[in-house]
């Protein structure tokens, strides 16, 4: 009986050992190949001219959101339950995308302009009716803004850039006045601060919002023949002097009105900041992108992702980072924004492997030619759409205008 039991146990052990070896061998074959299933050409995602297939599918879904009220309400309610900011950002990224798409595909310009105007008008109306807090997180009300009357650079900057992009696509006199007023307000506040720091939240300034606002000013200069180049140069110079994280030399993501950093560099901020800097200081923009790529970009088995923080800076997870995958430090927010950096700086290899990760881990769902990523949300998808089409507006503004 004991001998039989020993034989049975030995046979089982042998089988398990051989089975485990087979599993390891299979894993060694499969794991390096998984990415091949999900890797496509970068041209599927972003191309120099025209619209990529992904851009077309993502845009179809977003255009449907603005023509089917129930769909839009459901999507915005889900997002606003987590973060009211995303409502504003989703609108902004979509308008910026549609403006670029209009330049890429002039035949569809009229359709894009209709949705752009609908979004801008509704956003401005909501801001006027409900106040700036409608697009901010609740802690904005926790204390008064230092600079009165209370305004948020987050809201002003995004609306200004929406108006400016729309006007680059096609002029609209009402928006000319609206943009001029918005820029006047932003510039007035920038000039009142020794460090060109403007609040998005009470005594809280965000580099992302400053970069967006400065891009809007740059576009306004292009459109209206104004000249804020000295102010823009000064801001970049102060940013280089005061806002660089000592260890990584990446721009910090937030600071107070005295210029003291509140957060270190963050992946959810730096990629878009580098893209906006392309309008202000190309060399600095490239420097920030390359540093971000080195400090935050990671590739594993053919899949790329972005970390929310560099190794030299740690911070607790927040609404911007989203859940961060332990060990890898991968963040959905940072990885989504990395697409904008990779597309803006023509980093095709990074873009290809980021897109492989997107197809692998963001759960695409395409119905009737409308694409969404289930792991994402409307603002995430709108940021991805922006990454697929960005370029033409920036290129147009960088080209001197013939008057």
């Amino acid at each position: 009986m004991t001998a039989m039991g020993d034989d049975w146990m030995n046979a089982l052990l042998k089988r398990v050992c051989i089975g485990v070896v087979a599993l390891f061998a299979a894993a060694a074959i499969w794991l390096p190949c998984v990415h091949l299933v999900f890797t496509g050409s970068p041209a599927n995602f972003h191309r120099p001219e025209g619209l990529s297939p992904k851009a077309r599918q993502l845009a179809a879904r977003h255009l449907a959101l603005w023509t089917e009220p129930d769909l839009k309400r459901g999507e915005l309610d889900r997002m606003r339950a987590s973060n009211a900011e995303w409502d504003s950002m989703g609108r902004s990224f979509l308008v910026w995308s549609l403006a670029n798409m209009g330049l890429r595909e002039p035949a569809s310009k009229a359709a894009y302009l209709k949705v752009i105007d609908q979004i801008i008008d509704e956003t401005v109306r909501l801001e006027a009716q409900e106040g700036i807090y409608f697009f901010l997180m609740p802690y904005a009300k926790a204390q008064p803004y230092v600079t009165q009357p209370a305004r948020s650079l987050f809201v002003d900057g995004e609306i200004a850039l929406m108006l400016a992009c729309r006007r680059v696509l096609e002029e609209k006199p009402e928006y000319q006045r609206a943009l001029a007023e918005r820029v006047r307000l932003i510039v007035g506040r920038l000039e009142r601060s020794r460090l060109f720091a403007v609040e998005s939240y009470p005594d809280e300034c965000w580099t992302f919002d400053h970069a967006v606002a400065h891009a809007a000013i740059r576009l306004a200069d292009y459109l209206d023949g104004t000249d804020h180049s000295a102010l823009l140069r000064q801001w970049v110079s102060i940013a280089k002097e005061k806002l660089l994280h000592r260890q990584s030399s990446l721009l910090v993501s937030s600071f107070n009105l005295d210029g003291a950093p509140l957060d270190g560099p963050e992946g959810s901020t730096i990629w878009m900041v580098a893209h906006c800097l392309q309008l202000l200081d190309e060399d600095f923009a490239r420097d920030q992108y390359e540093r971000a790529r080195r400090e935050l970009g990671r590739t594993l088995c053919g899949f790329s992702f972005a970390r929310e923080w560099p190794a030299s800076w740690r911070s607790p997870m927040d609404i911007d980072s989203g859940p961060v995958i332990p060990v890898l430090g991968a963040s959905a927010g940072a990885s989504g924004m990395a697409f904008i950096g990779a597309a803006a700086f023509h980093d095709d290899s990074f873009l290809r492997s980021l897109a492989a990760s997107l197809e692998f881990a963001a759960f695409p769902s395409c119905q009737d030619g409308r694409l969404k990523y289930c792991a994402s949300n409307q603002v995430g998808d709108a940021a991805l759409l922006y990454a697929t089409v960005l370029g033409p507006i920036w290129e147009k503004v960088k080209t001197p205008r013939k008057l």
Binding site: R15, I18, A25, W30, A81, F363
Partner: protein, 101 residues
């Protein structure tokens, strides 16, 4: 006589632990569970990865749990199932080779 499909399934389920059949059964089970989760619409709940509720009709925690279940099953199907099937092929090849020697 031709064995029924049911009989074949029963035989498969009785496969020896760590045998090629055992790996195939486990792979099939994972695929079935994933298909159930997919058909049940759990893919929508993976939005917890971006900090967004999959649905406002369920609590955040429950939604995140459903999303996590889907994520685990999806990773099992994309990563584990091919490994199990490859391992089954390697094992079957090894057994065939040994039987010949």
């Amino acid at each position: 006589m031709k064995r029924s499909l049911f009989r074949r399934c029963v035989d498969l389920c009785r496969a020896q632990f760590c045998s090629p059949k055992d790996f195939v059964v486990r792979a099939a089970l994972l695929v079935v569970l994933f298909v159930i989760a997919h058909v049940a619409g759990l893919r929508e709940y993976t939005s917890f990865l971006s900090g967004t509720a999959g649905s406002l009709e369920v609590s955040w925690r429950w939604g995140a749990f459903l999303g996590l279940c889907y994520l685990a099953l999806y990773l099992a199907v994309v990563i584990l199932v091919p490994i199990l099937l490859l391992a089954a092929t390697l094992l079957a090849g090894w057994e065939h080779f040994r039987a010949k020697c």
